[in-house]
C-alpha cells in the first residue's frame, strides 16, 4: 500500500512537470504552428537564473522568481529576434529555426558558463518528508503537485477571464478573423511565448528541485518527453497536453516500478511502445485540437 501510494505521488509529480512543459509547447503550437524545440533551453535559462540568484545570495523565493522571469524573458527574446522574422516561413522553416535557437543557446551556456553541471543548493527544509501516519510523503513531490495544480488553475483563469487569454484561444481557431477584430497579431503571439516561458520556468524549478543541479543540456530530455506528451494528448490541444503529460508520467513511473529488474534498462522502449499503442487507438491524440484556420 505504502509503495503503491508512493508511486502514485511520484507519477503525478513527474506527470505534472511533463504537463507544464507540454502545455508550453501546445500554447505556442496552437497559435503559430511552431514546434519549439528551444523550449528546453528556456528551462535551462531558468535553471541558470536560479543558480545565479542563489550564487549572489538572494533569498530563495527571489531565486524562484528569477527562474521564471529569466525563462519568460528568454521566450520573448527568441520570439522577437528569431521566430518573428521567420513568421512567413512554413512549418519546416519554423522547426529548423527552433533547432538553431536551441543549438545557439546550448553553445552559449557551454562556452559562456560551463559545460559542467552547477549545483543549485536548495534549502534544507525541502529535503524532508511529511509523516501522514500511514505513509510518508516527500516535501518536494508534494510541493511539485501543488505548484502544478496552481499553475494549471492560474492558466485556466487567464485563458477564460482575460481578454488576452480569450484572444489566444480565438487565435488558435482562426487567427485571421481575430485580426479583423483589431487585435494585434504580434501582441497575441508574444503573450503566447511569454506564457510558454513562464510554464517552462515553473517546470525548470520543479525539475531542479528533484536533481539539485543545472547543466547546459538540462532541458533536452524533459522537452523531448513533453513533445511526446503533447503528441499523445493531441498536438495543439491544451487540455490534451495536460492529459498527455500526466499519462506519460504515469506510464514512466508504472514501468519503472513494475518491470522486472532485467527489463528496466529498456523502460523507455516500453513506455514509447505503449505510446504507439495509444496513437494507434487514437491517431489524433487523447483530446484532439479542433481543426483551425490559420493566417
Amino acid at each position: 500500500m505504502d509503495i503503491f501510494l508512493q508511486q502514485i505521488i511520484n507519477a503525478i509529480s513527474l506527470g505534472g512537470i511533463y504537463a507544464l512543459l507540454a502545455l508550453g509547447l501546445a500554447v505556442v503550437f496552437s497559435i503559430v504552428s511552431l514546434i519549439n524545440f528551444a523550449h528546453g533551453e528556456l528551462m535551462t535559462v531558468a535553471g541558470y537564473g536560479m543558480f545565479f540568484a542563489i550564487a549572489v545570495s538572494l533569498p530563495f523565493p527571489f531565486a524562484l522568481a528569477a527562474a521564471v522571469i529569466f525563462a519568460c524573458a528568454a521566450a520573448l527574446l527568441t520570439e522577437r529576434f528569431a521566430f518573428r522574422p521567420m513568421r512567413k516561413a512554413d512549418m519546416t522553416g519554423l522547426l529548423l529555426t527552433s533547432f538553431a535557437v536551441s543549438a545557439i543557446l546550448r553553445v552559449l551556456f557551454q562556452n559562456g558558463i560551463s559545460a559542467r553541471s552547477k549545483a543549485v543548493p536548495l534549502p534544507a527544509e525541502l529535503s524532508g518528508a511529511i509523516d501522514l501516519g500511514f505513509f510518508h510523503i516527500g516535501i518536494v513531490p508534494l510541493l511539485s503537485i501543488v505548484t502544478t495544480a496552481l499553475s494549471l488553475w492560474a492558466l485556466t483563469l487567464f485563458l477564460r477571464r482575460t481578454t488576452l487569454g480569450k484572444a489566444m484561444r480565438a487565435a488558435a481557431e482562426d487567427f485571421q478573423v481575430l485580426r479583423l477584430m483589431g487585435i494585434k497579431a504580434n501582441r497575441v503571439i508574444a503573450v503566447a511565448f511569454a506564457v510558454s516561458g513562464v510554464l517552462a520556468g515553473v517546470a525548470a524549478v520543479l525539475w531542479i528541485a528533484q536533481r539539485g543541479s543545472v547543466d547546459p543540456l538540462m532541458g533536452f530530455v524533459p522537452v523531448l518527453k513533453a513533445f511526446v506528451a503533447a503528441v499523445i494528448g493531441g498536438l495543439g490541444s491544451l487540455s490534451g497536453a495536460v492529459a498527455g503529460g500526466f499519462a506519460l508520467g504515469i506510464l514512466e513511473v508504472l514501468f519503472q516500478a513494475f518491470l522486472p529488474e532485467a527489463a528496466l534498462p529498456f523502460r523507455d522502449a516500453f513506455v514509447l511502445g505503449f505510446v504507439i499503442l495509444i496513437l494507434i487507438w487514437r491517431p489524433d491524440g487523447l483530446i484532439p485540437a479542433p481543426v483551425s484556420r490559420r493566417s
Binding site: 480569450k166 484561444r169 480565438a170 478573423v177 481575430l178 485580426r179 479583423l180 477584430m181 483589431g182
Partner: protein, 233 residues
C-alpha cells in the same frame, strides 16, 4: 465614403482581381455580384487588409492601402467574412467580447454587448453557449453582431445568406436594411442576386476579376446580363 481604384489582388501567379474601381457613398447599400471566382470576396478581403493588394483604397479621404487588417478596422471598416467564422469553442459572450475588446473597454464595452443582445435576442438566449453549437442562422447573427462590436461606419458583408434557410435569409436582408436606416454604410457580396438587388442602391457585376457592369438596383434587374446570369427567370 469608400473609393477603390485600380485594385489588384494576386495569389501567386493567379490574378483574382484585375483592376477594380468602385465607390460606396455614405449611407448606401452597394452590392457586388458575380459568379464564384469572379473576385468578389478577394475585393472585400483586400479592402479589409486581409490579403495584400495593389491599387488605391481611400476611406473618408484617408488612404488605407497597405495597412494591416488590425489597423483598418480601427478606421471604421468591419468585415463579416464568408462562412461566418465564429470562434467555435468560445462562447457567444466571448465572441462578442473579442469583437469589441480592441475598440472599447469597461462600461462602454458592456454597453455595446448589451446593444447587440437587444438587436439579436436569440444571442441573449445563447449567451453562455459555445458558438460552434449554434445553428447556421444564429452563427450568422453572431458573426454580424461581432463585427458591429467595433462600431464600424462601413460594414463589409461577405455572403451573409449563404447556406441559410429561406426564412433566415429574409431576416438577414431585413437586418441589412435596418442597419442602413440606422446610418451604417454597407458593401455586400451576395450570391442571391434577386434579394440583394432589392435592397441595394447600387450594384457592380464582376466577371473574372473585372467590373463588367454597374448601375442602380432597378437598372441591373432589367439588364440582360444580370437576368441571364443571376436571376432565375
Amino acid at each position: 465614403m469608400l473609393e477603390v481604384s485600380g485594385l489588384k489582388v494576386k495569389y501567386g501567379e493567379v490574378e483574382a482581381v484585375k483592376g477594380i474601381s468602385l465607390s460606396v457613398p455614405r449611407g448606401s447599400i452597394v452590392v457586388l455580384l458575380g459568379a464564384n471566382g469572379a473576385g468578389k470576396s478577394s475585393t472585400l478581403n483586400a479592402i479589409a487588409g486581409l490579403v495584400p493588394a495593389t491599387g488605391k483604397v481611400t476611406f473618408e479621404g484617408e488612404l488605407l492601402s497597405g495597412q494591416p487588417a488590425e489597423d483598418i478596422v480601427r478606421r471604421g471598416i468591419s468585415l463579416t467574412p464568408e462562412g461566418r467564422r465564429v470562434f467555435p469553442s468560445l462562447t457567444v459572450a466571448e465572441n462578442l467580447h473579442l469583437g469589441g475588446a480592441a475598440h472599447a473597454a469597461g462600461e462602454v464595452l458592456k454597453g455595446r454587448i448589451e446593444a447587440e443582445l437587444e438587436r439579436f435576442p436569440i444571442l441573449r438566449e445563447r449567451y453562455h453557449q459555445k458558438a460552434g453549437l449554434l445553428s447556421g442562422g444564429e452563427q450568422q447573427m453572431l458573426a454580424i453582431a461581432r463585427s458591429l462590436m467595433a462600431a464600424p461606419r462601413l460594414l463589409l458583408l461577405d455572403e451573409p445568406s449563404l447556406g441559410l434557410a429561406p426564412l433566415i435569409v429574409d431576416k438577414v436582408f431585413d437586418l441589412i436594411t435596418d442597419l442602413r436606416s440606422k446610418g451604417l454604410t454597407i458593401l455586400l457580396v451576395e450570391q442571391n442576386a434577386e434579394r440583394a438587388l432589392e435592397v441595394s442602391d447600387h450594384g457592380f457585376v464582376l466577371q473574372s476579376g473585372q467590373v463588367v457592369l454597374q448601375g442602380t438596383g432597378p437598372e441591373l434587374v432589367r439588364s440582360d446580363l444580370v437576368k441571364q446570369a443571376y436571376l432565375s427567370e
